[in-house]
Amino acid sequence: MRLISARLSAKRRSPLAGLVVLLLGLLLTGGAYAVLAPANAQTDPADQSTIAKGRSLFLVGCASCHGANGEGIVTKNGTQYGPPLAGVGAAAVDFQVGTGRMPMARPGVQAARKKVVYTPDEIEALAAYVASLGPGPAIPERDAYDPSTIPEDERNEAIVRGGQFFETNCTACHNFAASGGALPGGKFAPSLRGVSNRHIYEAMLTGPQQMPVFSDGVLKSSEKRDIIAYLNSIEEAPNYGGATLGSLGPVSEGLFAWIVGIGACVGFAIWIASSSVRSKKGIKA
C-alpha cells in the first residue's frame, strides 16, 4: 500500500488528479482490489512530468480514437471505435505501443505488429499517463518474465512445465510451434517468434485485443515465466529434422510433398523417357 499512496500523492498534483482519485476510489470500492495486486509491482512512481509528457503524446497520437481523456469513442452504431483506456494499465500500453500495434495505421478488425513508432522513453511516458487514468497491470519486473532468473538446476523442469501450460492454454490459437493461427472474421493469433519475453508476459497479463486475459491470480507469474522459458527453448532448439516448412502443420507439408516430391519424381520420369540425342553420321560400317 505504501507504493499506491505514493502514486496517489504524485497524481494529486496533476491536473487530472481529482478525476483520477474519483475513478480509483470507485474502482477500489467496486471490489476490484485484487486487480490492483500487479500494480503494486510498479517500481518508480510516475512523476508529473512523465505523465504530462505522456499526455501530450497521447493527445497527438492516440486521442483521435481513444478520446482526449482515454475515455474511448463509441461510433454512431454503438460499436467501439477505440476502447476506453482507464484501467488497462501500463503493461497494456507497453505491449500495444512497444510492439508497434498502436498507433494503428487505420481502424480495422485487428492491430497487427509493425514497426515501433515511439522511442522507449515515449512509450514509458504514454504508459505512465494511461496508468494514471486508472489502476491496471503495471509493466512487469524483469524477474517476473525473464527465464534466466530461474536457477540453472530447475530450468529444465520449468521448461517442461511451461510446455504443459503452453499446450493447454496457447496452442489452440497460436499453433504448436507458436507460428500463429486463424480466428473468425479475418482476425488471427499472431506468431510468437521474435517477440520479446516482456511483451509475451504483458500479452498474457493484459489480454490485448481478442486474446483472453491470463491473470496472475489463475496463471501464476512463475507459470507465465515457465511458458516464456519453453518458448525460448523451442526457439533456440535446432530444427532436428531439416527445414520447418513454416511449422504450419500438415497442409504445408502436403504442398511440399506435391511440389518437391511428386514434382521431382515426375521430372525424373520425363528425363528417363525422353529420347536421347541422335547422330547424323549414320551407322559405322
Partner: protein
C-alpha cells in the same frame, strides 16, 4: 541349356564357364520357369514419361516397406503410460503413452531414426500422391477402357487402402495431432445412425480414447492393409503384364502390337534406376525437410488442441467437406441424426467412390463401345471425359483448400468465414465452370488438329504477291504426324430406338435406350471428328487450285481471298537458307 544331350565333359566345361547357366538349369529342373519366362525376359514396354507415374507409387511403396520395417524395430504400439526420460529436454518427466515415448526415442535416440521416420512419412504422401497422378493419367487417356476395367477397380482399391493405411500410420505416434485425428474419426463413427455408439465402443474398446486403438491400428497398419496392398499390387502388375501396356498411337504403333524396349536390359535398367531415384528423392526430403515434428505437438491429451490441426493432404478433401457443411441435425422420435457429419463423412465419400468404381462401365454404356482398346486417347479427343476429370479435380482442389481454410486465412490474411462461405458456393459452381471451359478447350484443340491436317502448318514464311498482299505460307505436315493425328476412332453416336424397334420391348427398357441415346449425344455432341479421306483430298485439290501458276508466271491473289496458300516464288531473303529446315551443305551466303 543343352547339357542333357552332350557328353559329360562338355557339360562340365560349360557349367564351369558359365555358373549362372548352371544355376538356371538347376532352378528350371525343379520349376520349369524357362517356358514361362522366355517371353517375359524380353517383354516389350512402351516408353513414355506418363507411363512411369504408377512406378512412383510402386517404388514409394517399397520405400515404405523398408523404412517401416526399420521403425517397427523400436516402435512400441502401446497406450500404457510411462514417464518420458529420453533426450528431448522439453518433455522430460512428462507422462505419455509408450507409443509416443518410443516415437520420441526413434526421433532422438536412434541414429538415423528421425531420418527413417521422415522418409516413411514423405514416402506415404508420395505413395498416395503418385497413385492419384497415375489414376488421372489412366483416366485422361482412356486406359481404363476394355479390357482394363478390372485393373481400374484394383487401382481404386489400392488408392482407398493407401489412404486408410496413411490415416492409420498418422494415428500411431499418439501425439496431439494424431489423437485429434482419431477424435474426429471417433466423432464420425459415433454419428452413424443406430449403430454409431456401438461401432465406436467396439473400435476403441470403450470410451474414447481408451487403451486399445493404437495396438489395434498397429496390426492394421503393419499387417492387414500392407498384406492386402501387396496382393492387390501383385494382381495389378500381373494383369498389366498379361494385357501388355497401352501405348500412344504413332507410326508402326497399332492396336494390335506394342512397340518399345525389352524388359532386359533397357526397361530393367530404367525401372531399377527409377527405384533408386524415388528412394533417393525420399531420402533427400527426409533429410532436408522436417515433417510432423511430433515432439512439438506433445503427447495426446483430450483437453488440448493446436491451431492448424489438419490431416495429411490425402484426407484434406474429407476435412474440407466436414468444414464447409452447414450444421444440420434432425431430432426425430427422440433420436438424433447428424446430417452435418453423416453426409460429408460417410455418404459423400461413398458416393464418390461408387462413381469412381462404376465409371468405366458407365462410360462404356453411354458410348456403346465394347471393343478392346490398347491405344491411348489424347485427352482432347475425349472432350467430355477430360472435362469431367477437370471438373472433379476442381472439386477436389476446392475441398482440399476448404480443408486448409484456417491456414489460407492466416497465410494470406483472408477472412476465415468468407473462405467457408465462398467454398459452400464454389464447390457447386467451380466444377461446372471448369467442365464447360475444358470441354470447349478440348474441342478447340481438336479443331486445330483438323486444320493442321487439312491445311498444313504455318511455316513462318511470309510471301508477298505481285499485288503487294502478304500471306503466310502453309506447308504440309509430315506423314508421321498426320498418321498420328488421325490414328483415333471416329465417335459413333448411339441411336435412339425407332418406334419399330420399340414394339414388344418393355417401356422401361425403351426409356433407358432413349436416355442412353441422349447421353451419347451429349457425350460426343460437339466433338470434332478426324477428316475423312475424301475431305483430305478436297483440301488438297483446293490447295492445288490456289497454287496454280498463272500464265504470266506469277500467282495472283483472288480478290478477297487471303487464305495464304501460295507457291513459294522467287527467292527467300539471304540467310534463310540456314533456317535449319534444309541441309546446309553447299549453301553459302550470296556474293554481292
Amino acid at each position: 541349356m543343352s547339357t542333357a544331350t552332350t557328353n559329360g565333359k562338355t557339360a562340365a566345361r560349360t557349367a564351369r564357364r558359365n555358373p549362372i547357366a548352371g544355376i538356371l538349369t538347376w532352378a528350371d529342373d525343379r520349376t520349369g520357369l524357362a517356358t514361362a519366362s522366355k517371353k517375359q525376359i524380353r517383354k516389350v514396354f512402351p516408353d513414355h514419361w506418363s507411363f512411369m507415374l504408377g512406378e512412383i507409387a510402386l517404388w514409394s511403396f517399397v520405400v515404405l516397406l523398408l523404412t517401416g520395417t526399420f521403425l517397427t524395430l523400436w516402435f512400441k504400439p502401446s497406450m500404457g503410460e510411462v514417464v518420458y526420460n529420453g533426450s528431448y529436454d522439453q518433455l522430460r518427466g512428462v507422462s505419455m503413452s509408450e507409443a509416443y515415448a518410443s516415437t520420441l526415442h526413434i526421433s532422438f535416440d536412434v541414429r538415423g531414426g528421425l531420418l527413417m521416420r521422415q522418409m516413411h512419412h514423405w514416402a506415404a504422401m508420395l505413395f498416395v500422391g503418385a497413385m492419384f497422378v497415375h489414376m488421372m493419367r489412366v483416366f485422361m487417356t482412356g486406359a481404363f477402357r476394355k479390357p482394363r476395367e478390372l485393373n481400374w477397380i484394383i487401382g481404386g482399391l489400392l488408392l482407398q487402402l493407401g489412404i486408410l493405411e496413411g490415416f492409420a500410420g498418422y494415428s500411431l505416434p499418439d501425439d496431439l495431432l494424431s489423437g485429434t485425428g482419431l477424435r474426429i474419426a471417433q466423432g464420425l463413427m459415433q454419428a452413424v445412425p443406430v449403430v454409431g455408439t456401438y461401432v465406436s465402443f467396439f473400435v476403441f474398446d470403450g470410451e474414447f480414447p481408451g487403451d486399445a486403438i493404437i495396438p489395434r491400428l498397429y496390426t492394421v497398419h503393419v499387417l492387414l492393409i500392407p498384406g492386402i496392398l501387396l496382393a492387390l499390387i501383385g494382381a495389378h502388375m500381373l494383369l498389366l503384364v498379361y494385357q501388355k501396356h497401352t501405348q500412344w498411337p504413332g507410326p508402326g504403333r497399332t492396336n494390335e502390337n506394342v512397340v518399345g524396349y525389352p524388359m532386359l536390359p533397357v526397361y530393367a535398367a530404367k525401372a531399377g534406376g527409377f527405384f533408386f531415384i524415388v528412394f533417393g528423392v525420399t531420402a533427400l526430403m527426409g533429410g532436408l525437410m522436417s515433417l510432423n515434428p511430433v515432439w512439438r505437438f506433445g503427447p495426446y491429451n483430450p483437453s488440448q488442441v493446436t491451431a492448424g490441426s489438419q490431416p495429411d493432404w490425402y484426407m484434406g478433401v474429407a476435412e474440407g467437406l466436414l468444414r464447409i457443411f452447414p450444421g444440420w441435425e434432425t431430432h426425430i422420435f427422440g433420436f438424433t441424426i447428424s446430417w452435418n457429419i453423416l453426409i460429408p463423412g460417410v455418404v459423400l465419400p461413398g458416393v464418390i467412390f461408387t462413381v469412381f468404381f462404376a465409371y468405366p462401365f458407365l462410360e462404356a454404356w453411354i458410348t456403346g463401345d465394347k471393343r478392346e482398346h490398347h491405344l491411348l486417347q489424347r485427352p482432347r479427343n475425349a472432350p467430355t471425359r477430360t472435362a469431367f476429370l477437370v471438373g472433379m479435380m476442381t472439386l477436389y482442389g476446392l475441398l482440399w483448400a476448404a480443408g486448409g481454410n484456417d491456414i489460407l486465412a492466416v497465410t494470406f490474411h483472408l477472412n476465415l468465414n468468407y473462405i467457408t462461405y465462398f467454398m459452400r458456393v464454389a464447390v457447386f459452381v467451380g466444377p461446372v465452370i471448369a467442365f464447360l471451359i475444358t470441354r470447349r478447350w478440348c474441342i478447340s484443340l481438336q479443331r486445330a488438329d483438323r486444320d493442321r491436317l487439312l491445311h498444313g502448318f504455318e511455316s513462318g514464311i511470309i510471301m508477298r504477291s505481285p499485288e503487294g498482299a502478304y500471306a503466310e505460307k502453309h506447308l504440309p505436315i509430315s506423314v508421321d504426324e498426320a498418321y498420328t493425328l488421325t490414328a483415333r476412332d471416329r465417335d459413333e453416336l448411339v441411336q435412339a430406338p425407332t418406334p419399330a424397334d420399340e414394339n414388344g420391348v418393355a417401356n422401361r427398357k425403351v426409356r433407358m435406350m432413349r436416355l442412353r441415346a441422349r447421353l451419347s449425344q451429349y457425350w460426343y455432341g460437339t466433338a470434332i471428328q478426324k477428316p475423312t479421306a475424301q475431305e483430305l483430298e478436297e483440301a488438297q485439290h483446293h490447295a492445288e487450285h490456289e497454287l496454280e501458276v498463272h500464265e504470266d508466271g506469277h500467282q495472283h491473289l483472288e480478290s478477297g481471298d487471303y487464305s495464304g496458300e501460295y507457291e513459294f516464288d522467287g527467292h527467300a531473303a539471304d540467310g534463310h537458307q540456314f533456317d535449319g529446315r534444309h541441309a546446309i551443305e553447299g549453301e553459302e551466303l550470296r556474293k554481292h
